[in-house]
Amino acid sequence: HEVEKMFTLKPGRLPQADVKNVIFFVRPKLELMDIITDNVLREDRGRSPQRDFHILFVPRRSLLCEQWLKEQGVLGSFIHREQYSLDLIPFDGDLLSMESESAFKECYLESDQTSLYHAAKGLMTLQALYGTIPQIFGKGECARHVANMMIRMKREFPGSQNSIFPIFDTLLLLDRNVDLLTPLATQLTYEGLIDEIYGIQNTYVKLPPEKFAPKKQGEGGKDLPTEPKKLQLNSAEELYAEIRDKNFNAVGSVLSKKAKIISAAFEERHHAKTVGEIKQFVSQLPHMQAARSSLANHTSIAELIKDITTSEDFFDNLTVEQEFMSGIDTDKVNNYIEDCIAQKHPLIKILRLVCLQSVCNSGLKQKVLDHYKREILQTYGYEHILTLNNLEKAGLLKPQTSGRNNYPTIRKTLRLWMDDVNEQNPNDISYVYSGYAPLSVRLAQLLARPGWRSIEEVLKMLPGPHFEERQQLPTGLQKKRQHGENRVTLVFFLGGVTYAEIAALRFLSQMEDGGTEYVIATTKLINGTSWIKSLMEKLEPAPF
């Protein structure tokens, strides 16, 4: 497309580039409009040749943003104002995300359904590519809205009826607030832990460089790199695909087995005698080098993670989480949490724990809630009243209204806590949290077999309606399933999904006689920290 250069959006003067057109490729956020305004105003009008400005909004134009630009007096500087409908971005062979950070906050705190509209549009695109999805199941208010939008869009754009053989049998729409518990708990899969500790951004992770420094013979520890080591993580890397969804405690043995295989492969060079054999060995070298490099990286990452998971604080934190999730002492002020507040641990860690306690107790007793709130405000500052208010609105940290705790019933009926979890050779999805089976994935599992009718009572205890819709397929495209062929279900998490839940769904997919394979879509890939952060009030005043 004749793009000369690409730069990251920053305030200040635009960099030098000998081009005629400058295109701003942005999400429709007001803060970004301020930066663009700055860029445009600082542009040297005297230069020749003059550059033309254009703006591309992803995924949609926003009249609010254009209004803002108009008020700043720069709207007229743009020759083209367009949109680029990138709704769902593929992250892997079975994973799509809209990467909309504010979706949860907008939907559940502000009742703004714009991201749901984009989700529906993304689903329409998927159906145009892969065929109409004949069955839609959903649980939650937002799920209901998305389904309604999809049906309406199909009615209003009849041209989208296509003759593609349907790939997906079922669509399952799930509101994040049906399962507020799962993102709060610390993930224990390999990929989940990398995200919890270092944060995976768009499949990249930045790691402390010390363990990745090449130790060439003869050189001492001089010239240690200071730049963080950046790695890409996806299933195209064989080793990563094998270990990413395993419980972290099972990763070590995979790595050591791999090490033996690779060592043996390299040893082959001693056995290569003929020219032909040597030639073959050499041709394999790039692949073996890649495998060795992959092993080196993941051994280092695993060491980094192990330092954290074997620490006393990690253990204490996990113990309290598991106590709450198995229903122990959720109705009193917890000593460990109080100690952490007293030692001024990071606020997000505290918030995750108190919210977890609240969710596992269907809300805290007023006295307990007031006690925590007071301690938090006194230790971290009164301005955090605003964040605490948001958390209450989202249902994460609230007083117990009905005087009843539903969680034990939900936990028992859906078998959310499994004592006999096997981390090495799991037989149940509860391995991803070493005992706790993610509620959302349990719902998907039970939908496939034996169906939601068996858990009607429990479903009523969870927020939002549950429903089923059918979409007409043109005759001739009805899917006839072969014996033993799996159904394909697309699970769409409205409000965010964690890597641990993805791992759990992948586990279900590869189960021997599971019967269903899963593809996962979401508004955003999240972990407990990034999720709570998106609900916190921005406390610093805006820079402009």
Partner: protein
């Protein structure tokens, strides 16, 4: 992990590393890991490896403010991004389906004829106008003059679920309707109402937002919304005034007391700050000379302020604003929190007598005994972190109730007397004998052990 690390390191010697300069683990989207055979065949065939190399080296200069991405051979076109991986047999038909349909890629075109935008006809009904707006066409809304028309337009926009269009219509209505009418109509239109509130928050139109919330009687939200504004006030005096004004707002009962505390705290901090800055500058006070302040106390949380007060103003009488006891009383700080904070501050100053006094109480007979609202193991932890001498540490290890923890800590921090006494009380000869090797030859401790063993 150790095994794999060994293998990795031994392999380093065999294989010449030329890929350690990479910042990125590169994997191409067609699924081949960079460096694999199939990948290298593809790359040499298309002879684009040089441009990929260039990309690597420019990305390594990541610290420069603009990392330029030179032009790429596009194996990253949008169509390839939409290809699924052929992991599942049922997905076999993806790329087939795509090519069958003749739909090659899904990147929307960048240029469209201008005619598509111009609104040549002026006769679109509200419903059609909304339809057109949903498709991204610019529409003038000015022709909708009557209230009736405007409301139909709004309802159509809401029914379409498109937030963008709803916002556009609201911007128009905000401009062309009297406030009371707008509020009244929105009160019965929840979705539109939420959109407007969100819009006003985004654009910072605080006054209109508060008026709207007051109209709706959403009093708590009004209060919180107004309180939020204090973050935009940098000047401390002005912020204090503002917070004072917030106190009467309709917060919940609990929140009201917090807002009150916030105001009171800032008021105190201003007084303390002014006073202490003066003291420090005058140079007469020893504590400020020895430990110059690293930051101002303004806008710090309550507990931080208490720590500061225990550090710099510990001995002051309750009457002064900066005394710790005054803070405790005014803000009803629980004993536990108070003791912990005071302990941390006095331990930092190595004021062991003050630490002692914190835990000593006289009972009615005049006897002193030690007790603490927190476990003594916590006390030991904090003392140890501040490098308390063993004699001091020992006193408190001795007070730890749980025997196992006591032994643990005593052994860890070499509080020999406590270890010895505990084993003696447990009547554990074996452990006591074993412990002999941990103490110095000929020391008082060794003698103590021997005398106990011999009895």
């Amino acid at each position: 992990l150790k095994e794999s690390k060994r293998a990795v390191n031994s392999l380093r010697d065999i294989v010449d590393d030329d890929d350690d300069d990479d910042d990125l683990e590169r994997v191409s989207w067609s699924g081949e890991p960079v460096g694999s055979i199939s990948w290298s065949i593809k790359e040499t065939a298309s002879s684009s490896s040089s441009s990929l190399e260039g990309r690597d080296s420019s990305l390594q200069k990541g610290s420069s403010s603009y990392a330029a991405f030179p032009k790429q051979v596009s194996s990253y076109s949008l169509s390839s991004l939409f290809k699924g991986r052929n992991k599942l047999p049922s997905f076999q038909s993806f790329s087939d389906a795509l090519s069958d349909m003749g739909v090659k890629n899904y990147a929307p075109e960048l240029r469209r004829p201008k005619a598509e935008y111009k609104d040549y006809s002026s006769d679109w009904s509200p419903k059609d106008t909304v339809r057109r707006m949903q498709r991204g066409k610019v529409c003038s809304l000015e022709r909708f003059r009557s209230l009736q028309d405007k409301l139909v337009l709004l309802d159509e926009a809401v029914a379409g679920h498109d937030g963008n269009v709803i916002t556009a219509v609201l911007i128009f209505l905000k401009r062309t309707l009297r406030r009371e009418i707008l509020f009244r109509e929105l009160e019965v239109r929840q979705v539109a109402l939420c959109h407007l509130i969100h819009f006003l928050k985004e654009t910072g139109e605080q006054k209109l937002l508060l008026d709207l919330l007051r109209f709706l009687d959403r009093t708590e939200e009004v209060a919180l919304s107004q309180y939020r504004e204090h973050l935009n006030i940098q000047d401390v005096e002005k912020r204090r005034e503002f917070l004072k004004g917030c106190i009467g707002l309709p917060f919940s009962a609990e929140d009201t007391s917090h807002i009150q505390d916030h105001y009171t705290l800032l008021e105190r901090q201003i007084i303390i700050e002014a006073h202490d800055r003066h003291l420090e500058a005058a140079g007469q006070s020893e504590i400020f000379r020895k430990y110059p302040r690293k930051a101002s106390i303004l806008n710090m949380p309550l507990v931080t302020t208490l720590f500061y007060s225990c550090f710099y103003h510990y001995t002051e009488a309750e009457g002064t604003f900066s005394s710790p006891t005054n803070l405790k009383k005014t803000f009803k700080i629980p004993d536990k929190q108070y003791v912990l904070t005071a302990l941390a501050a006095r331990a930092k100053l190595r004021a062991w007598d003050d630490v002692d006094a914190l835990f000593t109480t006289k009972n009615w007979l005049g006897y002193t005994k030690k007790k603490a609202p927190i476990g003594f193991h916590r006390v030991v932890e904090i003392l140890q972190r501040n490098n308390a001498p063993v004699q001091v540490l020992q006193e408190y290890v001795r007070l730890v109730e749980d025997v196992e923890i006591r032994l643990n800590l005593a052994t860890k921090y070499k509080c020999h007397d406590v270890v010895i006494e505990t084993y003696r009380d447990l009547k554990d000869r074996i452990q006591l004998t074993a412990y002999k090797c941990k103490v110095e030859r000929g020391s008082a401790e060794e003698e103590k052990i021997n005398s106990i063993l011999n009895n």
